[in-house]
Subunit: 247 residues, 2 copies
DNA sequence: CCGACGTTTCGTCCGCGGCCGAAGCGTTCG
DNA sequence: CGAACGCTTCGGCCGCGGACGAAACGTCGG
């Protein structure tokens, strides 16, 4: 009837972004970068499962589209997700992708490390992440809803006392506190600037260390003590069968 | 080195979903369905900008992948987004797509209706949506954070008094209250089961009516009065240049 | 200064997938 | 009962884009 549908604000832009994510090799690259670390082109080629030249082309496209940021360092080039918004897209895609026909995925030992503690882009996930959120909720530092979270006044004071500041990240409109529903625990953990601060703080203090070639992190001796004294997270709370005790 | 990177939980599934959204015609279809209404295959063909046979193929793929739900009615087939999760993906994609190089988009008269009041999947957006969220926040019915929102006790009582119940939507883990950052206002409005209830309630009471072939809605006489008495939203609050008065 | 390494560019091949026209099925109306 | 309509299926065309090998560029080490 009428000439053409109104060119919906960047419906074409949506297709462009989605098409970039829609290639298996590129999806692997982006998934690998969801670990939060910057990775070299070579490492990403390994994750992508294709050759170096092909990977280079993919990385160029992703960078030009603004999905990735690149940083030259010697003869390496480090790529990382360009913004938390990109991570948000990947996160929502994972929710859809895993929501489908619940394929039985036998949890191997490799998974166990991931389920205990891992990074989710720039914040903590796994049982450590969800337990941390729960404890902070119980102590009134944050209020945890199913669709969002808020930092309370006392929570802000508490975190300031830990030396955690929340810079506005250079004018970006990134939320202070978000929740992120993760695929393994099916429970919420803290994201946003707060989640990022908690992760970087934990890394700086040596409470956790990254496990190479994986999104999993290991909790150190200092971390075991630190999480217990500061947040009241005992190792028992992180036990693998805690779900059995609850359910 | 090692044989292959661990087959990341459904990284391939992510690519599949994203590739489906990544086609311009399909992106147009999904964008059109973000209005929240179920549309026929013919209407979607018009939105997609391709012929009927091609559209049929797209719809079959989207349905089989679980992105769309279809309902036969006479000789029509009505398609709608299969779940709020899908809407969440589209929402996050829009955030990325519009965040890019801020192309100057001169607001035409068509846009003005959209900016005033429109649907965003199954809840209200535009100035009506953001103002509604603000007023409920000021009145202590909800607490609005930048990364989430919570319904207070008094808010729950108030809404129950309006006859709004919040069924758990058939066991799905859909949040009661989410925020949705929209592209035009750059401010938060209420989504989740609460947002859906507010929209359907407004439609049932005849406070708003859908404008055909558009995501915009018009506020009726009854609506103008209803929003004012129940939520304290006066027409002045919805004026186009309210941002000027504030900024 | 030369070789090893990481990364990109170029050229080529090839297969997937979107698009349409024509035809087939089911429904609704005159 | 036949025509119009909505939608889908089929067949064929064609172009985009991902894959690799070979080679060029740039950086680090001996």
């Amino acid at each position: 009837m009428t000439s053409q549908p109104l060119p919906i604000a960047s419906a074409n832009g949506i297709a462009t972004i989605a098409a970039l994510i829609g290639d298996p090799a590129r999806a692997n690259i982006l998934s690998a970068l969801m670990g939060g670390q910057a990775l070299t082109a070579g490492e990403l080629a390994w994750h992508a499962g294709v050759g170096a030249p092909t990977t280079s082309g993919h990385l160029a496209k992703l960078s030009e589209a603004g999905l990735l940021a690149v940083e030259r360092q010697g003869r390496h080039r480090y790529y990382r997700l360009a913004s938390p918004d990109i991570a948000q897209v990947m996160e929502s895609l994972m929710a859809v992708a895993t929501a489908g026909p619940r394929r039985h995925r036998p949890p191997g030992p490799k998974d166990e490390a991931l389920r205990t503690a891992r990074t989710c882009y720039d914040h903590l996930a796994g049982r450590l992440g969800t337990t941390l959120a729960d404890r902070m909720n119980e102590r009134g530092l944050v209020i945890l809803g199913d669709g969002g979270a808020l930092v309370t006044g006392s929570g802000h004071d508490f975190l300031s006392g830990l030396g955690l500041a929340f810079p506005d990240a250079g004018g970006t409109r990134r939320p202070l506190c978000r929740v992120c529903l993760d695929w393994s625990e099916r429970r919420s953990h803290l994201a946003g600037r707060l989640g990022a601060a908690l992760l970087s703080c934990s890394l700086e203090r040596g409470w956790i260390v990254r496990i190479p070639d994986s999104r999993a992190v290991a909790i150190t001796e200092a971390g075991s003590q630190g999480f217990a004294t500061v947040f009241g997270i005992t190792p028992e709370l992180l036990a693998a069968d805690s779900s059995l005790a609850v359910g």
